[in-house]
């Protein structure tokens, strides 16, 4: 066996977003693993995290959730990550990096990804207690700690980050000021007109904006803490917390100290391959000055540089010659986008402007002398960004007169993606062109957006292009004659959502009519339960009433869960997981008397296994008499609302999570949905109820409730997204009502809320607009449907027991109602029963299982 060639040493200094992207890109190259042994020196105490989403930390997103680097990634590639261990010195001659703790690491390749540091203007008092910057999670922790005793906060800098910081101060409940030296907010990205609209919207939120004003001095009180700040216009702001967000500077000291050239305004000088003057040293991201003489402060160019350097190091060819600095973001709830030549710098460029101050919308397109779109600014409505940005980048003539492109939807022809040339970049995060997406469809056989995402990475960054992408994919599939079948099954050409609409609009109440008017054949195990579920969701009465009984899966048909040997399990509802000792005793007695196997479920209730069909009514008769109701463990319906013990008992709780969980579980019990629904309520940010893994989860804050939606455990776990923060109880419940009904109305069969939300056009923003701003005008309908559900709820088991005709079906044999099924047999295990294995010699159904 030939010995493996020794791997070369690669040291990466800095583990921010760009550093992490570099590692990913490096190990995407097949040769990398055999070539490089990688050590990462990180100054911060944690692995790379999503700094772009930093502000979401104030809305309850934890540091762990922001993390971009799972331990498995490091393990898989044998990467050694040293946190809290910055590099101190580089000896280029000896090719050795010395760390802050004095350790010396030899390297064959050194990659500097040290990022940038916040610029703090050297005004008197800038380092007083109460002054902060906004860059790391530690900065945020400091701000939050200081905000506890503060009333007024001021942000120095009205750029992108400054407005993010202002949002954080609002979230912390502080009266908030923004001081900007330039005459308008976001001076880099927007023009005066856009700045005006932005300012008005932000002032509407209670933020005091001071533009054209510099910070002259920060005054402190006797305790040495910030008390006020003096501005260049002579005014003074009484503030007890200050955040500096006046731009960033490249962190190039390490390079300066070892004699590498840096730019005039900072930034390690690199060539197209992101290599410095020293062939063994690379620099990427915000610490580098690229070949076009610029230092990029955005993540997308940083990623592009990381990828270029990674390809170079893996014997490939990479280059970075400059990047698109287009931006689309939501700041303090205001949509802002800027792309291409936003300021009309090109010679002969002309503007086309649409401004509507009343609606808070401003749009400007910069048109070149030849009529091509060069760039633009969008404030208040950025819907057209996904189409306009690639158009501007492609330099092709406009598909429609420019004025039509800025007018509100409906008053002009919308620019469809067909108008985009192939070279237009659709996903700027991963630099994927329309042509690449088309190729994924035609050449790689991708037939859906998720497949194209997987194949091209498009849409996996910020996600702003997913809507455009799905239009392109659909168009391309249609163009190539691929029938995109959305049919439920062979009997219905419709999707579940379409069937829902049909059934609701026509007021249909039985399967026969749906089938006769809209389907073919006799139905199947797909469409029948689906229609049964829709009828139940629309308030169609008991699921075993009349013809509906024939539609239900066996679980729903027997109101219990079929197990592998033909027996059933029984789960009584235990709202919020709260149960009295008497309740526990009753369940225990029933389980003992019927010889059932008992197990505690993950949803905080008790599952009783091993009941024969004929035992279900007598078991439930006793449960109902003791006050229990069906737990709907058998249905595609609300299962449980889990809860932690909350402020009532817990030292840390800030709200009554059990009380809310019980209220929610009782409100939504029995609600039939396209798939099962799970929920949880946590009484504080420690999240002991694991609410973020639920379809809808609620986490208490000191002033209200944060609502998360679209979480999922199971095979493809997904953390829920924050839909709204700090809601009062009434708004919270109304929002959940609408979320659930909107999901029930539009989801596919067996589609949990997580994939539904990922598929939903416009994503979380769209959902928020629908259920909170009523953008589709359907909230009244949704509210009414939920009202009807709550009004008509009845316990399915109590209702079944009250109807002798239904009880009569619960027999093992129609011609021998008293005879138990002799094939349902059990064997003893750990003092309980379990299904007997084939051929196992066991006692019959009368097995005595009480072994003690």
């Amino acid at each position: 066996m030939t010995p493996k060639p020794a791997r070369k040493e690669l040291v990466l200094v800095g583990h921010g977003m760009v550093g992490q992207r570099f590692l990913e890109a490096l190990f995407e190259q097949p040769s990398a693993a055999a070539t490089w042994r990688v050590t990462v020196l990180a100054e911060e105490p944690r692995a790379a995290y999503d700094r772009v989403q930093l502000s979401s930390w104030f809305n309850g997103t934890s540091a762990d959730e922001l993390s971009m680097c799972p331990q498995e990634f490091l393990d898989e590639h044998g990467i050694e990550l040293r946190c809290s261990e910055p590099a101190a010195k580089v000896d280029r001659g000896a090719r050795i990096v010395t760390t802050a703790s004095g350790e010396r690491l030899p390297y064959d390749a050194l990659v500097l990804a040290t990022g940038s540091y916040p610029f703090v203007p050297p005004v008197p008092g800038h380092d007083a207690d109460g002054c902060h910057v906004y860059r790391t999670i530690e900065d945020l922790e400091g701000i939050r700690a200081d905000a506890k005793g503060a009333r007024v906060g001021a942000v120095v800098g009205g750029g992108l980050l400054g407005l993010e910081a202002a949002g954080a101060l609002i979230a912390l409940g502080l009266e908030t000021h923004v001081v900007e030296f330039a005459p308008r907010l976001m001076a880099l990205q927007v023009d005066d007109g856009g700045g005006d609209v932005l300012r008005r919207k932000i002032e509407d939120m209670g933020v005091r904006v001071h533009t054209g004003a510099g910070t002259q001095r920060i005054d402190t009180g006797d305790d040495g803490r910030v008390r006020s700040m003096a501005l260049s216009d002579g005014s003074e702001i009484e503030a007890d917390l200050v955040i500096f967000s006046a731009g960033v500077r490249p962190r190039d000291q390490l390079a300066r100290d070892c004699g590498l050239p840096v730019g005039e305004r900072g930034g390690i000088v690199v060539n197209e391959q992101c290599r410095t003057e020293d062939p063994h040293v690379w620099a990427i991201g915000e610490c580098a000055q690229t070949v076009d003489g610029r230092v990029y402060g955005l993540v997308a160019p940083g990623y592009a540089m990381a990828e270029a350097a990674a390809r170079e190091l893996a014997d490939g060819e990479g280059s970075f010659t400059g990047a698109d600095t287009s931006t689309k973001l939501k700041l303090l709830g205001v949509d802002v986008a800027s792309f291409g030549d936003a300021h009309g710098a090109a010679e002969g460029a002309l503007d086309v402007v649409y401004a509507n101050s009343r609606a808070g919308v401003y749009k400007k397109l910069v048109i070149g002398a030849d009529g091509a779109l060069l760039g633009g600014v969008l404030v208040g409505d950025t819907e057209s960004y996904a189409v306009l940005r690639p158009l501007a980048a492609s330099g092709t003539p406009l598909p429609a007169p420019p004025e039509q492109l800025v007018l509100p939807a409906g008053s002009g022809a919308p620019a469809g993606p067909i108008a985009l040339p192939d070279e237009a970049v659709v996903c700027s995060c991963h630099n994927v062109s329309k042509g690449a997406i088309k190729a994924a469809v035609h050449e790689n056989g991708c037939a859906s957006v998720p497949e194209v995402k997987k194949c091209t990475k498009a849409g996996t960054g910020c996600g702003s292009c997913v809507k455009l992408m799905s239009t392109i994919v659909t168009d391309e599939l249609a163009a190539s004659g691929v029938e995109v079948s959305t049919a439920l099954c062979e009997h219905f050409p419709h999707t579940r959502a379409e069937l829902y609409e049909i059934i609701q609009v026509k007021g249909i109440t039985d399967f026969s009519r749906v089938l006769a008017e809209h389907g073919t054949g006799e139905g199947c195990d797909i469409c029948k339960p689906t229609v049964g579920s829709i009828l139940a969701s629309l308030g169609g009465g008991h699921i075993l009433a009349g013809e509906q009984a024939a539609l239900q899966d066996t679980n729903d048909h027997f109101l219990a869960n079929l197990q592998r040997n033909g027996s059933y399990s029984v789960v009584p509802r235990v709202p919020g997981g709260e149960i009295t000792p008497e309740g526990l005793i009753v369940i225990g007695e029933i389980a003992r008397d019927f010889g059932l196997y008992t197990k505690i479920t993950g949803g905080q209730r008790i599952d009783l296994f091993g009941a024969r069909v004929d035992q279900l009514p007598p078991i439930w008769k006793r449960l109902v008499e003791a006050g229990f109701e069906s737990g709907h463990a058998y249905g595609k319906a609300l299962r449980t609302v889990k809860s932690c013990v909350g402020e009532t008992w817990c030292r840390y709780g800030v709200q009554d999570s059990v009380g809310l969980a019980i209220e929610l579980e009782l409100r939504y019990r029995g609600l039939r949905a396209p798939h099962k629904l799970k929920s949880a309520v946590s009484g504080c940010a420690r999240e002991c109820a694991e609410a973020q893994s639920k379809d809808f989860g609620i986490i208490a804050t000191s002033t209200g409730w944060n609502l998360y939606v679209g979480g999922n455990g199971g095979m493809t776990p997904r953390h829920a997204d924050l839909l709204a923060a700090d809601l009062d109880r009434e708004t919270l419940i109304r929002t959940i009502d609408r979320f659930l009904m909107f999901y029930i109305r539009t989801a596919d069969r067996l589609e949990r809320t997580a994939p539904w939300l990922e598929r939903l056009e416009g994503g979380l923003d769209h959902l928020r607009e629908v259920v909170m701003d009523d953008s589709l005008g359907i909230c009244e309908d949704l509210d009414e449907l939920m009202g009807r559900h709550i009004e008509t709820y009845e316990d399915e088991w109590a209702a079944t027991l009250a109807d002798p005709d239904r009880v009569r079906r619960f027999v093992s044999f129609a011609n021998a109602p008293g005879t138990p099924d002799p094939t349902v047999r059990f064997a003893p295990e750990r003092d309980q029963i379990r299904p007997a294995r084939p051929g196992e010699l066991v006692a019959g159904p009368a097995l005595e299982v009480r072994t003690r």
Partner: protein, 140 residues
């Protein structure tokens, strides 16, 4: 429908027609299990009133649950889907449409107008035979 006023469902056990349940016991599109001799048989009635009788034993799970499946159609074939792992079986022949396994046994089944007391199964004569005797039902 085989008779104008159906009251009783009968299965031919190889020797004679055995009453197994009341017509009213069957919900259109669903089934019940009955005991005939030592055999568990699933009896169904479709929406048009056609009756079917096949083995209650689900060959994939080993459990006796076929009577709890959902009726439907696969193309022109009337089928029942196993409630356990959802394979479809031709109701007329017992053939599984999803995997190659031996067909489930089927029994001749009919409706008669004479009432029977389905609650007194012990009064029903039970023939001990293993002959499928299904010639009248099996389609090839």
């Amino acid at each position: 429908m085989s008779t104008a006023n159906p009251a009783t469902v009968e299965i031919h056990d190889g020797a004679e027609w055995q009453p197994v349940c009341a017509w009213a016991d069957l919900v259109p599109g669903r089934g019940v299990a009955v005991l005939v001799g030592g055999d568990q048989i699933a009896v169904y009635r479709d929406r048009a009133g056609q009756l079917y009788a096949i083995d209650n034993h689900d060959p994939f799970s080993g459990a006796y649950v076929m009577s709890r499946g959902i009726l439907g159609s696969r193309g022109d074939v009337p089928v029942v889907m196993s409630p356990m792992y959802k394979q479809a079986f031709d109701l007329r022949t017992g053939t599984c449409l999803d995997e190659q396994i031996p067909a489930l046994r089927v029994w001749p089944v009919r409706a008669s107008e004479s009432a029977c007391d389905s609650a007194s199964p012990l009064s029903m004569p039970v023939a001990e035979t293993s002959q499928p005797a299904a010639a009248g039902v099996r389609e090839t």
